[in-house]
Amino acid sequence: MSPLKIEQGASSHSVYPLRDPNSDVVEKHTLAVLVENEPGVLARVIGLFSGRGYNIESLTVAEVDHKGHLSRITIVTTGTPQVIEQIKAQLGRIVPVHKVNDLTVEGPFVERELALFRVAGTGEKRVEALRLADIFRANVVDSTLESFVFQLTGAPEKIDAFADLMRPLGLNEVARTGVAALSRGS
């Protein structure tokens, strides 16, 4: 057979120049999904992820437009480029989904999460916890003689870092909201 005359990536819509089709590098993506605020819509999204074996690192949902009955679901997920593209396409075909934005590829974006930490301890450890909380600009929202509850907002990495520091100082409970994200600029 004669060699191929049509080059690989010959098409301007080719996916080859963009991403290695067989890349198994796992990427982390933040997706913003605008959905009709109707019963079962969250179950559909979650069912899609569990049914097709995709990962969810974080998921938050709340109504963002009361009059328009719209909610925004922010999902942080991981997968190879092919899996990420599949996830977006699969989300896009759910009937009550209006829009899927992949913030990770669409340009700079901000990601924030709120977390509450209960840190119990006395003496040196208690002082150190308070000092570190100050550096991280965490607020004390509850305190007893043996414990603090700190509130911290920031990127997930900042929250992870704070948790790591608090662990040896008596961290015994954490509550995190999951990620909310918006693209930068107008």
């Binding site: 690989q8 010959a10 009937v95």
Partner: protein
Amino acid sequence: MTRQMTGAKMVVQALKDQGVDVVFGYPGGAVLPIYDEIFQQNGIRHVLVRHEQGAVHAAEGYARSTGKPGVVLVTSGPGATNAVTGITDALLDSIPLVVLTGQVATFLIGTDGFQEADTVGITRPCTKHNWLVKDPDRLADTIHQAFHVATSGRPGPVLIDIPKDVQFAEGEYIEPQKAKTSHYQPRVKASIEEVTELVSLIERAERPVFYTGGGVINSGPAASQLLRELVDATGFPVTSTLMGLGAYPASGDAWLGMLGMHGLYEANMAMHGCDLMINLGARFDDRITGKVEAFSPGSRKVHVDIDASSINKVVRVDLPIVGDIAHVLEDVLTVWKSRGRKTQGPALKEWWQKIDEWRGVKCLTYKGSDKVIKPQYALERLEALTKGRDRYITTEVGQHQMWAAQFLAFEDPNRWMTSGGLGTMGYGFPASIGVQMAHPDSLVVNVAGEASWLMNMQEMGTAVQFKLPVKQFILNNERLGMVRQWQELLHGERYSHSWSEALPDFVKLAEAFGAKGIYCDDPAKLDDAIMEMIEHDGPVIFDCLVEKHENCFPMIPSGKAHNEMLLSAEAEAFVGGGALV
């Protein structure tokens, strides 16, 4: 002007306004108000099936053979759960259905009430979309939306769960035109850049192949027409998946036959050796690709599909085009013609020579017999004796299904109903009932295996009651033939539970239902027996006793590549092809 009426009345009114003429269903406590309305009108016919799974498959047969959505009405709890297999079948084969289920009254939901099941929960993953309607004022709107969703974009089954108190309550009816058909408007037209790109690939291809699927059928008759025009004008070869048979006529010069696991040698070899693959409305199913890493290694691939999630799901393609097949083909034809109808003539000629060599293998050759009926022979005779008639074929699942796809010739779309994606044994008989309801004067034959057929044999009652002259052509090998074949070839001939033991006497069974039974085990008498079946004005069970140990070839064992096909011992050996014999 507002029109107040009960929820139950609205259901019937909305179905009428949507142009529904047949409903397949089964009553029960939670849908009695709707059944009461059905009783008091004549516009919509109701076909009482004998099992809710049968209702759904019948609606699928109706939908597939008409292009209109099929409608199902069943009760809550067991009615709904019995429908689940059929709904899943419709999802995998993209068949538009509107399934209406009764539900316990709203104030009972969540209390484990009698015949309560979480129907929307259970069917969420197997419907395109579903709704639980708690407010009678939302009912009509929801039903109209349901028809819109079922039939727009990639078609599929939708379900509306209607609590009994909503059926009794009064609400405002709205017409289809006033319904919120919502933001759900899938893209149907491709961009001009994409179309031009495809045309330029067509102009440069030396070894092209069209790989068509069920999407061409779903797109409507215009898509099949345009496909024929494009194939004939370019002279490119065309193959199809199981679901796409009939989009391009089997008598057409460019037809390679079906591809895939039991596809034709020439079709699979063309897929393997092409330099341009144009996938129209197919989805690179594993029964098509075999081993993905070895799938058509040297080709540039184009994929046209209305569902973006089908593209790059299994196989990476070079040119993804999201759009409706008919729209895209129309644009491709226009642009290709305007650019001078170019193709690589001499190279194409060489390609066809190669294909003709592959055709020379005669991969469907089988060893004839004058003692027992070979299943392939039975289908050849069925084809010969029904050719040219106004004919619809449905099938069950197994060897007989693959032989039917190989040996029957489909000249037009919507004439072939089979369970492709889910592979549901028990599909064919009820599907034939649905087809016959839509085409009362046509010849409807279900090519069945004895084991599959038993799975929904209760529908004999339906066929007899509604005087539907469906022909059940059972290729009886007294085996779960396809299972037996895999056990023979892949599991050391250990035939674990693949016998059909204690089979009924099918002739007596037919008679017990008040239908006609025909038995034949002699090749010499087969033609007469088939004619007797065709000419009988009423349902027939034809027990055609066939060779028990016949294998279906060609076969690509799962996990193997297209050029690692197994051929029958009777096929001509091919020197250059690397096929195993």
